[in-house]
C-alpha cells in the first residue's frame, strides 16, 4: 500500500519556487494543498468517479516537471490541428516557451494575454480577483491538486465589447523530459460583457511517455458575451489526463465547448457550467474515440440557476478494442430557473464486442415549468448500411471506416472554426480509414 497522497506530495510541494508569489497566492496554494491532502484521490465509492478508477494515477508518485527539451515550432504544429498561423501560446512540460509562442496579433487586436507568472507581477489585482474564484477546490481533489501545484498558465482577458475572430491556440506539449512528471496547467479566461472570442486548447505529446496532466481552466463569460472553448486531447497513450473546465455565464451569454478526446491511457474531462444570468445558452459537444485499453470519461454538469436558459449537449463516443467510455451528464435546475430548456444526448458506437460504455444521465430538477430531456444510445454499425456500401463494391474495411466516420460527422460539424473542424474531420477520418483523402 502506498503512503497517502499527503505525504508523497509534500516534498514536491516544498520544491516549488514560490519566492515570487504574493501572500494571497501563497495562502491559496497552501489551502489547496491542505484540501488535496484531506481528500486524497477519489475512489470509485465517490459517486462522481463511480465508473472511473484513478488507481493508476494514485498508485504513482509524479515529480515536478523541471526541464524541457527544445522542440521546434514545426514539430509542435505537426502534432496539432487548426491553422498554423493562429496566435499561439506554447507550454512545454507545463512551462510557457515564449520563443515558440506568437501572441502579437491578439495583443494588437486588444486581447490581453499573458502567462500566469507575468500576470501575477503585472496585474496582481486582476489575478487575485479571479484565480480560484470559479474553479473552487472544495471537495474537488484534482482542482485542489492543480491549484496547489500550478506553476505556470495563461491569463486571458477579453475587454468589454471586443469581438475578435482570430482564435487563441494554447498548445500543451509534453516531451521526453515529461516522463514520470506531473503537469498542472492553469487557464483563466475573463470575457467581459458583449465580447466574443475563440480558444483552442491542444494537449499533445512528442513521445509516447508516461506523465500526468492535471489541467484546470476557469472561464467567466460576461453578459451578452460569446465564448467558444475547444479542447483537443491527444496525449500520449501512456499518459494520464484529468482536465476540468469550470465556467460561469452571465445574462444572454453563449458558451460553447467542444471536447475531442482520443489520447491518454486514462482520461477524464469535466465540463462544468453555471448559468447565472437569464437567457444564457450553453452548448456542450464532444467526441471521444478510443481503442486498445484506453479509458475516456466525460462528466458534464450544467447548473441552471437563472430562468430561461438553454443547454444543449451532444456527445458521441466510438469505442474499439477493450476501450472503456464513460459519460455522466449532470443537469441541475434551481427552483428559480423556470423556463429552463435542456437537452442532452450521448451516443456511442461500439466497434468491438469487448469495448464497453457506461452512460449515466443525472437530472435534478427543482423548478416546475421546465423542459429537460436526455437520450442515449449504444449501437453497432448498421448491417444494412454495410451491405449497401459493399453492394457498390466498397470493401469491408473501408465500408466500416466510412460508416464509423459518418457516425461522428454531425458532432464534428458543431465546431464553428473552419480550420479546426476540417482538421478534426481529417484526423478522425484518417484514424478510421488509414487514408488521407476526404
Amino acid at each position: 500500500m502506498n503512503a497517502p497522497a499527503a505525504t508523497r506530495y509534500a516534498e514536491a510541494f516544498g520544491q516549488l519556487d514560490t519566492a515570487a508569489a504574493p501572500p494571497w497566492l501563497a495562502a491559496l496554494r497552501t489551502a489547496a494543498l491542505a484540501e488535496f491532502n484531506a481528500l486524497g484521490f477519489p475512489t470509485t465509492r465517490n459517486e462522481d468517479w463511480h465508473f472511473t478508477s484513478v488507481t493508476p494515477i494514485a498508485d504513482r508518485t509524479f515529480r515536478n516537471a523541471t526541464s524541457t527539451g527544445a522542440p521546434t515550432a514545426a514539430e509542435i504544429l505537426a502534432l496539432t490541428v487548426g491553422d498554423a498561423s493562429w496566435p499561439r501560446a506554447v507550454f512545454v512540460n507545463g512551462q510557457c516557451d515564449p520563443t515558440l509562442s506568437t501572441l502579437g496579433a491578439l495583443t494588437t487586436a486588444g486581447v490581453r494575454v499573458s502567462t500566469l507568472t507575468a500576470a501575477i507581477k503585472d496585474t496582481p489585482e486582476f489575478v487575485a480577483d479571479h484565480l480560484g474564484k470559479l474553479a473552487t477546490f472544495s471537495a474537488q481533489a484534482f482542482t485542489a491538486f492543480n491549484t496547489a501545484f500550478a506553476q505556470d498558465g495563461l491569463v486571458v482577458h477579453v475587454p468589454r465589447s471586443l469581438v475578435v475572430d482570430l482564435p487563441l491556440h494554447i498548445i500543451h506539449v509534453a516531451d521526453a523530459q515529461a516522463a514520470g512528471c506531473m503537469l498542472h496547467p492553469r487557464l483563466l479566461v475573463v470575457a467581459e460583457p458583449l465580447s466574443q472570442f475563440n480558444i483552442v486548447e491542444s494537449f499533445v505529446s512528442l513521445n509516447g511517455t508516461e506523465y500526468f496532466t492535471n489541467a484546470v481552466a476557469e472561464i467567466s463569460v460576461g453578459d451578452g458575451a460569446r465564448l467558444h472553448h475547444h479542447k483537443v486531447q491527444r496525449e500520449s497513450t501512456e499518459a494520464f489526463h484529468v482536465g476540468t473546465v469550470q465556467v460561469s455565464q452571465g445574462r444572454n451569454s453563449l458558451f460553447h465547448s467542444f471536447s475531442y478526446a482520443s489520447g491518454a491511457a486514462l482520461s477524464r474531462t469535466n465540463i462544468y457550467t453555471r448559468l447565472l444570468g437569464e437567457a444564457a445558452e450553453t452548448r456542450l459537444n464532444g467526441l471521444y474515440l478510443v481503442d486498445g485499453t484506453q479509458h475516456a470519461d466525460h462528466q458534464t454538469w450544467v447548473e441552471h440557476i437563472a430562468p430561461s436558459c438553454a443547454s444543449r449537449e451532444l456527445y458521441k463516443g466510438i469505442l474499439d478494442g477493450h476501450a472503456h467510455g464513460v459519460f455522466n451528464g449532470k443537469v441541475f435546475v434551481d427552483p428559480e430557473a423556470q423556463k429552463t430548456d435542456g437537452k442532452q444526448s450521448n451516443h456511442v458506437l461500439l466497434l468491438s464486442p469487448t469495448a464497453r460504455v457506461d452512460a449515466k444521465p443525472q437530472l435534478e430538477i427543482f423548478a416546475d415549468d421546465v423542459k429537460c430531456t436526455h437520450g442515449s444510445t449504444v449501437g453497432r454499425l448498421d448491417e444494412l448500411a454495410l451491405f449497401y456500401m459493399k453492394s457498390r463494391g466498397i470493401g469491408d474495411e473501408n465500408s466500416r471506416a466510412l460508416l464509423t466516420y459518418a457516425f461522428a460527422a454531425d458532432v464534428l460539424e458543431t465546431v464553428e472554426l473552419d480550420a479546426l473542424r476540417n482538421g478534426l474531420e481529417r484526423i478522425a477520418f484518417e484514424r478510421f480509414t488509414h487514408s488521407t483523402q476526404l
Binding site: 453492394s391 463494391g393 454531425d410
Partner: protein, 248 residues
C-alpha cells in the same frame, strides 16, 4: 451470363425461395413480376450477396464463376449491381464521396489507377445528365432526407457511374412520377449495351412500356410459376395473378 439453378434460400428458419431456375444471357432484359411477398426482393438480394439470407440449395453461376462464393463487394466489382427497393440512408457520408469510393474500388479491382477528385467531378457532370439530377445532390448525405423518387434516381445515378454488366432493378419505378419514370427508364436504356443484361422487378406494365423486356417471369410462393414474352405482362395487367397462383 447468369444461371440460377434450383435456388433455395432462407431467412432464419423461414424458407423464402423454393427452387428458382433462371438463365439470363448478355443483351437480354428480363422482367420479374409477382404478388407481394412472393420473394422477388429476396432473389435480387441473394444475387447481390445480402448476408441475411442463407442459400440452402442450388447454385448461381455468373460469367462462369460461382457467384455464391464471392463477397458482396467482389460481386459488385465483377459487375453485379442491385438498385434497392428501399435504398439505404447513410447520414454523414456525402453522395460524392460515396460514388467516388465505389468507382475507385471498381477501378482498383480492375488494375486501374484511382481517379482524382477533380477528374471524377467531370465524370459526374456527364452522369448526372443521364438521370437529370441536380449537382447539389452530390454534396448531400447518401439518400438522407431524399424523397422516394430522389432515392430511386440516385440508385440509377450509381448504376450510371458503375456501368454494371448485370443490373437488377428492384421496383425502381415505385414512387416515381410519370416524368421521373421516363427519365429513369431513359437512363437505364441509355446504359444498355449488347454485353450487359438487366433484370427488372416491377408490379407495373407502365415501366415495361419504356424498358421493353425480352422475357417476363412470374414469381409466386418462392417459385417461378410462369415465364413468357413481353405479352405476358399485358396479360397479367388484365387478369391479375390469381389464375396462376390458384385461388387460395
Amino acid at each position: 451470363m447468369l444461371t440460377i439453378d434450383n435456388l433455395h434460400a432462407n431467412a432464419g428458419d423461414k424458407a423464402i425461395l423454393k427452387g428458382i431456375s433462371l438463365t439470363v444471357n448478355a443483351g437480354e432484359v428480363h422482367a420479374i413480376m409477382g404478388p407481394n411477398g412472393s420473394g422477388k426482393s429476396t432473389l435480387a438480394q441473394v444475387i447481390a450477396g445480402h448476408p441475411g439470407f442463407e442459400v440452402t440449395k442450388g447454385s448461381i453461376t455468373y460469367v462462369g464463376q460461382d457467384l455464391l462464393e464471392m463477397d458482396p463487394e467482389v460481386r459488385a466489382q465483377q459487375g453485379v449491381f442491385l438498385a434497392f427497393q428501399y435504398p439505404v440512408e447513410i447520414p454523414g457520408v456525402t453522395n460524392a464521396y460515396f460514388l467516388r469510393s465505389a468507382y475507385n474500388e471498381l477501378r482498383k479491382a480492375h488494375g486501374k489507377e484511382e481517379m482524382d477528385p477533380m477528374e471524377f467531378l467531370d465524370l459526374m457532370e456527364q452522369k448526372l445528365k443521364v438521370v437529370d439530377m441536380d449537382p447539389a445532390m452530390l454534396q448531400r448525405s447518401v439518400n438522407a432526407g431524399f424523397s422516394g423518387g430522389e432515392k430511386k434516381r440516385n440508385e440509377i445515378l450509381q448504376m450510371a457511374v458503375l456501368e454494371p454488366k448485370l443490373a437488377i432493378l428492384d421496383e425502381t419505378d415505385s414512387g416515381l412520377d410519370i416524368d421521373a419514370l421516363r427519365v429513369v427508364a431513359g437512363g437505364v436504356n441509355a446504359l444498355k449495351r449488347p454485353d450487359n443484361a438487366t433484370i427488372v422487378v416491377t408490379h407495373y406494365q407502365r415501366l415495361l412500356n419504356h424498358i421493353v423486356p425480352d422475357f417476363v417471369h412470374v414469381l409466386a410462393g418462392g417459385k417461378i410459376v410462369k415465364s413468357g414474352g413481353k405479352e405476358l405482362a399485358l396479360e397479367l395487367e388484365a387478369k391479375g395473378y390469381d389464375w396462376l397462383v390458384g385461388t387460395a
